[in-house]
Amino acid sequence: MHPEDLAEKAAQFRAEEAAIKREVRVCMAASCQSSGAQPVLTALTEICGDGKGMCHVKGVGCMGLCSAGPLVAVADKDCDLADSVLYRDVTPADAPDIMQSVCGAPVERLRCSTEQPFFARQQRIVLENCGLIDPDSFKDYVAVGGYSALVKALSEMTSTEVLREVTTSGLRGRGGGGYPTGLKWSTVAKTPGAQKYVICNADEGDPGAFMDRAVLESDPHRILEGMMIAGYAIGANKGYVYVRAEYPLAVERLQTAIRKAKGAGFLGHRVADTQFSFEVEIRLGAGAFVCGEETALMASIEGLRGQPRPRPPYPAEAGLWGCPTLINNVETFANIAPIIRNGGAWFAGIGTEKSKGTKVFALAGKINNTGLIEVPMGTSLRDIIEQIGGGIPDGRAFKAVQTGGPSGGCIPAAHLDIGVDYDSLKTLGTMMGSGGMIVMDDSACMVDVARYFMEFCMTESCGKCIPCRAGTQQMHGLLDTIAKGEGTRADLALLAHLCEVVQATSLCGLGQSAPNPVLSTLRYFREEVEAKLVGE
């Protein structure tokens, strides 16, 4: 198949819906469903009828502002979120008014401005289709240009050219480490091996992170497209998506996407009538945080306990079943199609010097606008929290923002003006992680937060290496003593020492980074910690 053939197909899919002028889009991502989106969709569909008229009601993916769900957008067909009339906190009782507004004046009492910074300040690349297309519809995806990057790569580019574009883009792994994606792909491509694998890490284990969930639930074909382009570039014909069992909706939509892509000839034997074949299988996680670590994840796919092993050899050389394996996270794969479509140089023009492109963040905790946002790398934390996030609720003051999950740390108010990228967060003693941002107000006790994360690492430690298994236990005990007001200066010194030991001697990332929340607390909130000691 050539790009023109696909473009024709897309035009044909659009023509099938030419009669539809207006769309009523109901967010059917997990968050809005929890807020009651299904009855809203049912009520709207009942009023609208069979959808053969000029208006069409459809379920779409995540629109981002979870705190205002269920969200409903009324828009001209082909108009994106910014140009739609958005309604918040919709109930089934509002359905008649909303349907009335399709051809009339907006329902003011339900209005949610799309001009507010939460929407206006975003730049959507990864999330460009989220909230616009029906995630279960192959036609919807193709109609907005889906699979055009894959067809372009397969029909017009050599694998080396694909690798070059990805390298030029400067894309770095979105799972947390920030390893250059082009370099990783090139290494696997260069490694000889008859059988190679592509793995999509969708084991989004960081508490407070739900970006990958939203992408899988809203735009699943996008991930398949990215994985297939990767397979073509490195010479692999088999892929696995390792997804958390805690995300049943994401699994369901991914299964549907795989089935439909296969049915349309865009996955499986001879993808899009080319010589390239690619199979994808889903593997369910089973609730082990450590399986986000790549070697543990591969052990889990092999049906074993998810325990990491020392690297090297890296998965690029000896990964799944000893074969060269490329492993990237969901958001990384979601960036691939636009990079191939628009070129690596386009992508490299967005973001900061060393961190290119955009980043999706999940805002949660004590912040007014909770949900998902996508901003260019380098956007300041202050912008994200005060402007886009709408500040702290209940008139309280900002105290800290936690990034990087249990491997990251808390950033105090003094550093809010820093532009967020991989390197700036590292200098602050935390890390990008997968993109969860949890905001805390002045009621938060930082010792308690540090203890919370240590309890997390302690329970999630796989038990293979002693520093992590025993160290997290000891550090948790010390933090508990201090939190209860029974700690001494000697306890604090011992805690700091243990942090260094565990960081330096643990086998995998879980143990090596487990001390980070404690270290960042000691760095920025030392007075608060010391005030808890006996006799202070």
Binding site: A30, S31, Q33, S34, S35, C66, S67, G69, E204, G205, D206, P207, G208, A209, F210, R213, R244, A245, E246, Y247, P248, R283, L284, G285, A286, G287, A288, F289, S300, I301, E302, G303, L304, R305, G306, A362, L363, A364, G365, K366, T370, G371, L372, Q402, G405, G436, I438, M440, A444, V449, Y452, F453, F456, E460, C462
Partner: protein, 164 residues
């Protein structure tokens, strides 16, 4: 050529074993299908008992010790039966900051059970999860598979009381 091992008969007439066998067959009874198979058992029966673990071990030709190792390593696998209803309280960071502890305390006060326990009448089990990804609606719980957000202790207890 090595003859394939004959597969053991299902432990009982229970039709749910067919689902389990289908999963193993789909993966060609390969050892790496262990986790998928355990998922399948738990989905069909609600938990993994000794009979199931032995059956899966024999079918996939994996030592029972390894099957037990995997079943106990992953948090999602339950080795004892759950109540008719389950309430999973999310204890992810966002939910923690917004009062997941209070929800658990509320459940303890009302039903006198802790995390992992089931009420004496086998009506309700309470569990915790590391993060269900509903951080935007924190604090969140999953009751019988449905996620509910922005809860208070009172609204949660009302919800649990309303279950049959």
């Amino acid at each position: 050529m090595q003859q394939p091992q004959p597969k053991p008969p299902s432990p009982s007439e229970d039709k749910r074993w067919k689902l389990v066998n289908a999963t193993m067959r789909r993966h060609g009874y390969a050892a790496h299908a262990l986790i998928e198979t355990l998922h399948s058992v738990q989905e069909a029966f609600g938990f993994l008992d000794e009979i199931a673990l032995r059956f899966v071990a024999e079918s996939l030709d994996v030592p029972l010790s390894k099957v037990y190792g995997v079943a106990t390593f992953y948090h999602i696998f339950m080795l004892k039966p759950k109540g008719r209803h389950t309430c999973v309280v999310c204890t992810g960071t966002a939910c923690y900051i917004k009062g997941a502890d209070a929800l658990l305390a509320g459940i303890h006060t009302r039903y006198d059970i802790n995390t992992g326990d089931t009420t004496a009448d086998a009506r309700l089990s309470v569990l915790t999860a590391r993060c269900v990804g509903a951080c935007g609606l924190a604090p969140a719980v999953v009751v019988d598979g449905d996620v509910f957000g922005k809860l208070t202790t009172d609204s949660l207890i009302t919800k649990l009381e309303a279950l049959d």
